[in-house]
């Protein structure tokens, strides 16, 4: 995480340096439509709306948020690609929408990465395998032992990619998991609390409960350790070559001018990286801090997201 953060900050620095002049020149010709791929009221939606507010305050750009939810961001992608590419429309989804989500859908996706100009990421996911403390499992090994002892384990996942990773975790440990698809991180939390699920993926939403001792992270789903649970092993440490690294991503239709791309990306980056803004403060609290990758660096992240998806699908078939 730290490495990424540093990479992100460096990338941001480069872009910000070069974009100061561009920003002065570029301004949207009218109101900007900000499509949000997340349900109203959730953490991701709150983040986007706070950024919209700050863009308006700082730059006088009028930003009108609109929720375009469903299909893991694919609905947003399909709607956004047909919007004008002059900066009057952009959207926020996750990198997986254009990685695993798009690749696994094949021709049916209805969009490719070429349809978009990615702007910037805002934060990564503190993805972990979560369980209620009251279950009595303090580590992944405890859970594996329970499963081997004959207990049926229900594993909640909120995207097909996470379901694949969950499957790999089970396969690796030699246990059978009943993988249950749920809607969003909130769905996992509700399922755990209601006793409908035994474990599930949490993308950072669990941090508060983990700190309070109500929940425990058994595994870190990302390539680095989780901020709140440094003891939980990473997927790599368990011997699995895949992880759930991913980011919140602002993107615009293809063909956006370089000027506009830099201006919007750095305007968002500035806000996210400034902890004194509402958005910056919120991201620090809810998503473990900002990660702003943009420009060429972001292009690389997007390309990787696409290429790694195929490998994960093949491995978990």
């Amino acid at each position: 995480m730290k490495k990424l953060l540093i990479a992100g900050v460096c990338a941001f620095g480069l872009v910000a340096g070069s974009a100061v002049s561009a920003m002065a020149e570029w301004a949207p010709s009218g109101p900007m439509k900000m499509m949000i791929a997340f349900k109203a009221g959730g953490g991701a939606d709150t983040q986007a709306r706070m950024i919209a507010e700050a863009l308006e305050e700082r730059h006088g750009w009028k930003v009108i948020p609109e929720n375009v939810t469903g299909k893991g961001g694919a609905n947003l992608a399909r709607a956004l690609k047909n919007e004008p590419n002059n900066g009057s429309a952009f959207g926020i989804a996750i990198t997986d929408t254009f990685g695993y989500g798009m690749v696994s859908a094949g021709d049916k996706a209805g969009f490719t990465q070429a349809d978009f100009t990615p702007l910037t990421t805002t934060a990564g996911f503190q993805m972990g395998v979560v369980a209620l403390t009251s279950k009595g499992w303090n580590s992944w090994d405890d859970l594996v032992a329970a499963a081997k002892g004959g207990q049926e384990i229900r594993f909640g996942a909120m995207s097909p990619k996470l379901a694949d990773l969950a499957y790999l975790l089970g396969q690796n440990a030699g246990i059978d998991l009943n993988i249950v698809m749920v809607k969003g991180g909130k769905g996992v939390m509700n399922g755990l609390n209601a006793g409908d699920l035994d474990i599930g993926w949490g993308a950072g939403i669990q941090a508060k409960a983990v700190k309070a001792g109500d929940m425990v992270n058994l595994v870190s789903g990302i390539s680095s350790k989780l901020v709140v649970s440094p003891d939980a092993p990473t997927m790599g440490e368990l011997g699995i070559d895949f992880n759930s690294d991913g980011y919140f991503l602002f993107t615009a239709p293809a063909g956006l001018s370089q000027e506009a791309r830099d201006a919007i990306a750095s305007a968002i980056g500035d806000i996210v990286n400034d902890p004194s803004t509402k958005a910056g403060g919120f991201i620090a609290k809810a998503f473990g801090g900002p990660v702003t990758i943009s420009g060429a660096e972001l292009d690389k992240v997007m390309a990787d997201a696409e290429s790694s998806a195929g490998a994960l699908m093949a491995a978990s078939e």
Partner: protein, 184 residues
Amino acid sequence: MQRTNVIIGLVFVIVALAVALLLVPFDVETSYFEKHRRQLNVGDSLAPTLAAAFILFGGLLLIMERCANTHKQLSWANFRYLLLFLLIILFSLSLMRWTGPLVTGLLNLFTADDLEYRPLRDTTPWKHLGFFFGGGFLIASLISLVDGKMTIRAVSISVIAIFAMIAVYDLPFDDLLLPPNGDV
């Protein structure tokens, strides 16, 4: 009266069968149950088919139900009214959608300006043009429909109502868009 229920029941039996046997197989990608990447799941076809089954069951019950009547009957007059009503709405919403772009287009014809509606959609008075004419037409024509004649009163009421709505929805809120300004 018994006959009406039988007809309604039959219509919905046909609707249900069409949904379950034609629409669902042709416009849903996954079947009732689906083996998707190593796991057996409920497919996308199951729920709509179940909905169709409820409609089918309801339709059959209605055919058999002995007079669950309400003295309500559809007549051709109802459909004529509905058609008239929908035409009024169609015209109003078209006015709403196109007045703004049309006016900018016309102005461009006569002046040297090169106006475009999209950037103007958040500026007074442009942003109110479509809503004013489309909405005004809707209210005035529906009042006149019941009155049986077009009156000045109907028109003035619609103008006042539109101004009131603009005052309620638009003036206090910076980020609300009146129709059609989210589309254009």
